[in-house]
């Protein structure tokens, strides 16, 4: 590798490290600015001469400025986060590109690139990061190998480029390939076998998820603000829907509403209308049916469920990860992922409400399964309602909503008065309002933020003045109108699963699939009405889903038309991405157990961790000591195993294994044994060399071994009586000398003659000795 090639590789590795971080951070700005900075540094550094960078005072001033900026941001922000660290590294990288005086500076650039890669891995494990690792790893290895050559020449004080011959290129390529394969194989082995859940969070939570992360979903709605509506195509979760027989019931065109949060309280605010989650209304039936993942299959036949949803949250939000489910859940199973401890669960999960909160998920991947009943088949809530209904559930209703609702129902021929309207007509009333908002009312669906008029409730503003908004406005308007006419209603936020991938049998749910809709409490059907004692009707009721958002407009905005070819390519890419997420990112102790059967090792490791940590639980500095103990345990075990394996391999190679010995070409040679044997390239030459040695030992045993062979042969022949093989010995010595120092290569006849000479000399030497 010439210095020029090495420099190009250095630049490539630096740029790829930035690309990896930009992919992890999903930031175009980082991508553009950082690459521009590094390339600028590289070009300016080169244009000023290969090794004549910026003056040192300027470089020092830049480094001080970069460091001060990072410290300032850490002090004023939320501490020294991974993101801040990576940005600091990027700035240092750009500065170091300007300051490459010696090979050591190139090594620093490579080190910074490696640190940036680690930062990218800490930031995200998405498939972009994974693919970039596959590309950057061999290039990094190649660059490091090239650096060693450049550094060696610098150490030798050579200013000229090392000579590059095709054989060097070929051998270097071979070393890079072998090294890359070995590193990949070993690291994959480590990835598969390293016990998971060991020492988890011993040092607390490292990762600080960016506070402005847009997932599209929120468990609160603020109509007056821009909200968290997102058009991003970033996948949020994968959904697989199964029937009791284990068959997928998802298909292209079939839509599932994934409920995330049920918002039942509406706060009418002068500035904004706010829908909030009200846990006190729904935590009356805490469900404790949390089970571990491995019992899922065993319980398939025993529970009266109808739909199973398997959901993989690709990156749950920190602190308040919500669970999503299609219907009211009966049972929930969690995959014991590495990022989540089963014992730390403390979330309020109820049958009525499919949303729950997990503590501190730290942006990790998280898988769970929900089994539920089909609400169309039977009602779950049996609620006794008298004719004296509560007109409003949770909060107040603006009079404009009531007026509009009455007009809609009157136009539809439905009694708007809840006191006189039969309960079984509530469904029809809700349907009329839904139809009005969807089509008849002429409301427009738009994602553009609309100006908030001061002093007017945003829902009223939407219903009466702007007549345009996104799904949250439609849902809020319907819920308020239903409430105004005495029908309990609530706003649900979550995702609409529309994008079915037939290659994976799963729905891909993206940020842009975030949606808001309405659930209205209606009678299941008219036959469910029963006459209760005292003249009070009892109804079997359920929360039925209504989506007032104009469906065509919604789909047109969120689903871009694509060609068949592009759609197939996209499906395949998503299938690969899902395989990455489920098999690599989501690789857990359960995966280890299932795939490799290493549960014993993992269990032993966990027990050891518990035993060590239990000794220090009474101390104040438990976390630090525990972490140190775990770190020491892990490293000690790793080093010990490595040493033992190495010693065993060495022993087997030298002495065999219970009588079995390695082939000769695999055995280690004993140090200081036979001594130097020049590699002369042909067996005849080796034989001749051995014969000459034997001759010297026989004829002139006192000749110093340090002398060249030709000299020793001459010394052997200098006696009074020349041995009969003197001419042969001289020929051998001359030929060997020519091969060793004169780059001569004997041809076929010469080799044969040499072999004959060698035989004669060897025979004479053996007789003599």
């Amino acid at each position: 590798m010439t210095p020029r090639t090495f420099e190009r590789r250095l630049l490539t590795v630096s740029v790829l490290a930035i690309v990896m971080y930009a992919l992890a951070e999903q930031s175009i700005a980082v991508f553009v600015l950082a690459i521009a900075g590094v390339v600028f540094g590289y070009v300016v550094g080169r244009s000023r001469g290969a090794r004549t960078p910026l003056p040192m005072p300027v470089v020092i001033a830049l480094i001080v400025a970069v460091t001060s900026l990072a410290l300032l941001r850490a002090a004023m922000g939320s501490g020294f986060t991974v993101g801040l660290f990576c940005e600091f590294i990027i700035m240092l990288l750009a500065v170091k590109m300007l300051d490459r005086r010696r090979a050591r500076d190139d090594a620093q650039v490579l080190t910074l690139a490696v640190f940036l890669c680690i930062g990218a891995i800490l930031t995200s494990n998405n498939i972009g990061v994974g693919l970039t690792i596959l590309i950057i790893a061999p290039l990094l290895i190649s660059a490091v190998l090239g650096y060693q050559l450049v550094a060696a020449h610098e150490a030798a004080g050579l200013s000229t480029a090392p000579p590059i011959r095709p054989t060097i290129r070929r051998d270097a390529r071979r070393v890079v390939i072998v090294t890359t394969i070995a590193v990949f194989a070993g690291s994959t082995l480590m990835f598969l076998l390293f016990p998971r859940e060991l020492g988890e969070r011993a040092f607390g939570s490292w990762r600080e998820v960016a506070g402005n992360a847009q997932t599209g979903f929120d468990d609160e709605i603020e109509l007056g603000s821009i909200g968290r509506i997102s058009e991003s195509a970033t996948p949020v979760l994968d959904l697989q829907v199964l029937d009791p027989d284990g068959r997928s019931i998802g298909s292209i065109g079939r839509v599932f509403y994934l409920r995330g949060a049920a918002l039942s309280v509406y706060q009418q605010d002068p500035r904004d209308g706010r829908w909030k989650w009200s846990p006190e209304r729904h935590n009356d039936q805490p469900d404790t049916n949390f089970r571990s993942w491995d019992t899922l299959a065993a319980l398939r036949e025993s529970d009266p469920w109808q739909i199973e949803q398997r959901i993989t949250l690709r990156e749950a939000a920190a602190g308040t990860a919500s669970l999503f489910a299609v219907n009211e859940p009966m049972f929930v199973w969690f995959d014991q992922t590495t990022n989540w401890s089963h014992n730390s669960i403390s979330f309020t999960f109820t049958r009525n409400l499919a949303s729950g909160l997990l503590p501190d998920m730290s942006g990790a991947q998280f898988s769970y399964a929900v089994r539920s009943l089909d609400r169309a088949a039977q009602g779950i809530d049996s609620i006794q309602r008298s004719q004296e209904r509560v007109p409003v559930v949770g909060g107040t209703v603006p009079p404009e909503a009531l007026e509009l609702a009455r007009r809609i129902l009157t136009d539809a021929g439905i009694d708007p008065d809840p006191q006189t309207r039969p309960v079984d007509r509530d469904g029809a009333a809700a349907r009329a309002i839904e139809s009005f908002l969807q089509a008849e009312g002429g409301y427009e669906y738009t994602l553009s933020p609309l100006p908030v008029r001061p002093g007017i409730d945003p829902t009223v503003d939407f219903l009466t003045i702007t007549r345009a908004g996104h799904c949250e406005y439609f849902a809020s308007a319907m819920a308020l109108m239903c409430r105004s006419i005495g029908i309990p209603a609530r706003v649900i936020t979550g995702y609409v699963a529309t994008e079915y991938n037939d290659l994976t049998g799963r729905y891909v749910v993206r940020q842009s699939n975030a949606h808001a809709w309405v659930e209205v409490l209606v009678a299941r059907d008219t036959t469910a009405r029963r006459q209760a004692p005292g003249g009070v009707d009892r109804y079997l009721e359920l929360w039925r889903t209504y989506d007032p958002t104009p469906r065509n407009d919604f789909q047109n905005l969120h689903q871009k038309p694509t060609s068949w070819l592009w759609a197939r390519a996209k499906s395949m890419a998503e299938a690969i991405e899902f395989a990455w997420v489920s098999n690599v990112v989501g690789f857990s102790s359960n995966s280890q157990d299932r795939a490799l059967g290493v549960s014993t090792i993992a269990a032993w490791a966990r027990r050891a961790e518990a035993r060590v940590s239990s000794r220090f639980t009474s101390r104040d500095n438990t976390a630090v000591i525990r972490a140190a103990a775990i770190g020491g345990l892990v490293f000690g075990a790793t080093l010990g195993l490595g040493w033992a394996a190495s010693a065993l391999a060495s022993r087997v190679a030298r002495h065999g294994f219970f009588g079995w010995r390695l082939p000769a070409w695999l055995r280690f040679r004993r140090r200081g044994g036979r001594g130097f044997r020049p590699l002369l390239g042909a067996p005849e030459l080796q034989q001749a060399y051995d014969a000459a040695l034997e001759f010297v030992k026989a004829a002139a045993p006192a000749a110093p071994e340090s002398d060249p062979l030709a000299v020793r042969v001459e010394a052997a022949l200098a006696g009074e009586h020349e041995p009969p093989v003197a001419s042969q010995a001289r020929r051998i010595a001359r030929t060997l000398y020519g091969v060793a120092y004169g780059a001569q290569t004997p041809d076929g006849p010469a080799r044969k003659a040499l072999a004959a000479d060698a035989r004669a000399v060897r025979d004479w030497s053996r007789k003599r000795r």
Binding site: N125, A155, P678
Partner: protein, 380 residues
């Protein structure tokens, strides 16, 4: 550098006498990074960090296997060396054989350790830099050479040669030491004499009947000949050229003593080492220049027990320079010691006047005729 006999020895390599693994600062950075990766992976259960930690551990193992295995299979031989003057560079050439069947060797540094098997690279009387072997194919050979600068006259013993490499990742510097005995003789420096030998020759010409040789620096008229490109303008005989119609130049000649002796005065023996070295350099310079002009130069240093009988030719000069290279103050005269006779011309070199690190006033006394002394300077 004059032609010299192949006396400096080479040695054939045997098995390494020692090997060593040395941690360097990249090793500590690497270990710290690997530690960070391990703690990060364990703490955050980040699967890619587990992979990265595995890659870091494998890096160490692969590095050990590649470079450790290759280094143990290397053998080195030193090729015959030359005989430098002080201030000249000497090429140390090595041939490295890689006995590994599969792996090539890259970026191997070859250093002379002198007689000290361990420790830093150092070679007495030389400023050394390692030779670098860029590449040595599996079961093949590679050549490397180091250019070392001779700093002091004398015999240097070469003994241990270290081959080291931090290939492939620079984590650990692996080195093997071979015993390759040999010697290098460093001759005294031949310095610019600033007219010293000319003045010596002039003085000698006035006082004795020596051999007349054509010499551009000579003062005696020798002949007229045609102008040849390169002749000095001052040597053109303008009047003669005008009368002949073609350009001619004056050739001059100088008389040289036929068999001068260079006698090193006893004052040199007691002088500080730096001054003594410069006086010896002056002697070597004068001898070289006189020999260049055909003189047979002899050497006599009673304080060092050294004498070289005047004889013509390069071989004799080389013998004289070798004697100068190894002369040291001693109490005993060498066997067969002989100084200039009564009728011999002698140039006695002593120390006097102002001396400096790079400059010496050599006091040269020309004898053999009427007593005369001349002062001349000699310096680098």
């Amino acid at each position: 550098m004059i032609a010299r006999a192949p006396e400096n020895s080479d040695a054939r390599s045997a098995s390494p006498v020692s090997r060593r693994y040395e941690l360097r600062w990249p090793s500590f950075v690497y270990i710290a990074t690997a530690l960070f990766l391990a703690v990060g992976a364990v703490n955050s259960q980040n699967n890619l960090l587990y992979w990265a930690f595995g890659a870091a551990v494998c890096g160490v193992i692969v590095s050990g296997l590649i470079s450790g295995g290759t280094m143990l299979k290397l053998r080195v031989t030193r090729e015959p060396t030359g005989t430098p003057h002080v201030g000249e560079s000497l090429q140390l050439r090595y041939q490295v054989l890689n006995g590994h069947r599969v792996l090539p060797a890259f970026a191997v540094l070859i250093e002379e350790l002198g007689t000290n098997q361990s420790g830093k690279s150092r070679l007495e009387r030389f400023e050394t830099k390692p030779a670098v072997l860029t590449h040595c194919p599996p079961r093949g050979r590679g050549r490397a050479r180091a250019s070392v600068i001779a700093t002091k006259r004398g015999v240097t013993e070469l003994r241990y040669v270290r081959l080291s490499s931090s290939y492939p990742f620079g984590l650990v510097r692996k080195s093997v030491v071979f015993e390759l005995p040999g010697t290098v003789l460093t001759l005294p420096a031949v310095l610019p004499t600033r007219g010293l030998d000319r003045r010596v020759r002039t003085r000698s010409a006035r006082t004795s009947a020596g051999t007349r040789v054509m010499n551009p620096e000579g003062v005696e008229f020798y002949s007229i000949s045609e102008y040849r490109p390169g002749d000095a303008l001052v040597s053109i005989a303008w009047k003669r050229s005008a009368s002949l119609g073609s350009m001619v130049v004056r050739r001059t000649a100088s008389s040289l003593p036929a068999r001068p002796w260079i006698v090193l005065d006893d004052s040199i023996a007691d002088a500080p080492e730096a001054e003594r070295e410069l006086a010896l350099a002056a002697a070597a310079s004068i001898a070289t220049n006189l020999a260049k002009h055909g003189a047979a130069v002899g050497l006599s240093a009673g304080w060092g027990g050294v004498s070289v009988t005047p004889a013509p030719g390069q071989r004799s000069l080389y013998r004289l320079l070798r004697a100068l290279a190894s002369v040291e103050p001693t109490e005993t005269l060498a066997r067969g010691f002989r100084g200039p006779g009564a009728g011999d011309e002698a140039l006695t070199i002593g120390l006097g006047g102002r001396t400096g690190r790079e400059h010496v006033n050599a006091l040269v006394a020309c004898t053999g005729g009427p007593a005369a002394r001349c002062h001349a300077s000699c310096g680098g």
